[in-house]
Subunit: 207 residues, 3 copies
């Protein structure tokens, strides 16, 4: 049981819960909730595995399915405890993208892709589950919202490769670059940070 597998499972838990919370806000029935949790959890990893032509992780290892069903049931039961739903949703989604970014980058490395492509792969696998969740729940896709989102994944992915050049152990590289994704996104939302705009005011009219 490697650190990567543990992180993959934790990401699955986080994304399942974020899917369940979104589906509950939409008042879906229990099976609908389970399906949205499932799609959110496996969407990114499935895209990643299809792109690198690997076996789809959740189809070959029943652990994912058990974890998803278990997390969904626990999240439904404990929904009263997760009472500030909006905030919990944000938290679990953020943990999910951090973990999936790292797993995606590592899978890219393991099939010999160059760093630039690994960063793209990590970012796509981190963001795709949430995009699917939002499309299926008829929300505005998360990537479109104002706060820094995919950007956090890109920067975390770049950090991964920079840290690899230091004498740090790979396990620490994994942990630190995941933490960077979470930190960037937490800071961005807490302080309402965004990039200095490239749009001048008069452009608002013309565009």
């Amino acid at each position: 049981m490697t650190l990567s597998f543990i992180i993959d499972i934790l990401g699955t838990v986080a994304f399942t819960i974020s899917g369940v919370l979104t589906a509950m806000r939409k008042k879906l029935d229990p099976f609908g909730i389970l399906i949205i949790g499932f799609v959110t959890a496996v969407g990114g990893g499935t895209l990643r595995d299809v792109l690198i032509d690997a076996n789809i992780a959740w189809m070959r290892n029943l652990t994912y399915m058990y974890v998803i069903i278990g997390s969904a049931i626990v999240a439904i039961i404990l929904r009263k405890k997760l009472s500030y739903v909006r905030r919990s949703l944000f938290l679990f989604d953020t943990i999910g993208i951090a973990l999936y970014t790292v797993v995606g980058v590592e899978k890219g490395i393991s099939v010999g892709l160059p760093p630039l492509i690994c960063v793209a792969l990590g970012t796509m696998s981190a963001c795709f589950g949430g995009v699917l969740r939002d499309i299926l729940c008829n929300e505005i896709p998360i990537i479109f919202r104002k706060e820094i989102y995919a950007t956090a994944c890109i920067l975390g992915g770049i950090a991964y490769f920079l840290l690899l050049k230091t004498p740090l152990l790979v396990d620490w590289v994994v942990v630190i670059s995941g933490a960077i994704v979470i930190t960037i996104r937490l800071l961005a939302v807490t302080f309402n940070l965004s990039f200095p705009t490239i749009y001048k005011e008069e452009e608002n009219i013309r565009l």
Copy 2:
């Protein structure tokens, strides 16, 4: 010509017609109608074949393409006969998901996937064409609507595996589990059934 292939073709016909009806409600031009019919018909099967890394059925066997083009033309010509469009759309969509659920489960078994994964595969391949249809036609994805939808596929898939343990011939298992999907969905819509809600009234305010 096996029963599975016949069922696959019937599902293709049903989904093509459901796509054509949706596209006609949106007043698309004839080619647009054909494209939506095509995407609805092949979407689920394509996802299924990509996930199990099989050859994409419609790319290797021209029968599907002929059936799709033929069904689309017939549906356009007979659109006046299909006058209660909303009801016809519902009917063809329901037949489509029943047939694709069974085909998906069977394809999963044929590549050695465990039952739980086969049910997920059947459900995804049944629902994906309709989701694509609705996204492309800018409708609320069908999975989100109130009535029991994917749930019918999940229950039909579970029924398939339960029936396999009886002395019934496989062909009967196929027919009965398909009929279960249709029956559940018909009952759900006719009697406006849904799961007992897990949401208490005070939660409406908090969430």
Copy 3:
């Protein structure tokens, strides 16, 4: 460096710019713009390569990534020069679908698919990037808009196979069928052309 590769790269440039322009209208931040440009550029080709089970072009050849990042930066810098944004977006999108239709048809031929399937493959790979762009940017998917869109790709694809039967060199077939896609779409939008409607007026009420 074959004509097909050059055309593929030009299509990548055109789609990247169309993605960047859409993302700038939505006021995304620089990384968000880059991501939408990337998804628009690689979406169609990725779908195509997944369907024919080929290596995903942009993952194996860094040229695509450099071209995408370069085009995105140039388009952001020159955004004032691209001042009639709506018109430029239309132009680059049209060039993109023309080039990708031809590349898609050729890739289909190279793996031995029959003409009908090649036309479908070319059309899907041409349209998918733009559909993803519009979904992620929360716009109505382009395929749904009134003007002839996918139809231009289908007709260009059919023209490719008809021209192959003439004594023309393949390079000319490529250029002419691409030009046909562009011409059809330009004419359709300029003169607000559409198919003669199949909907009679009284149908408006019934449907």
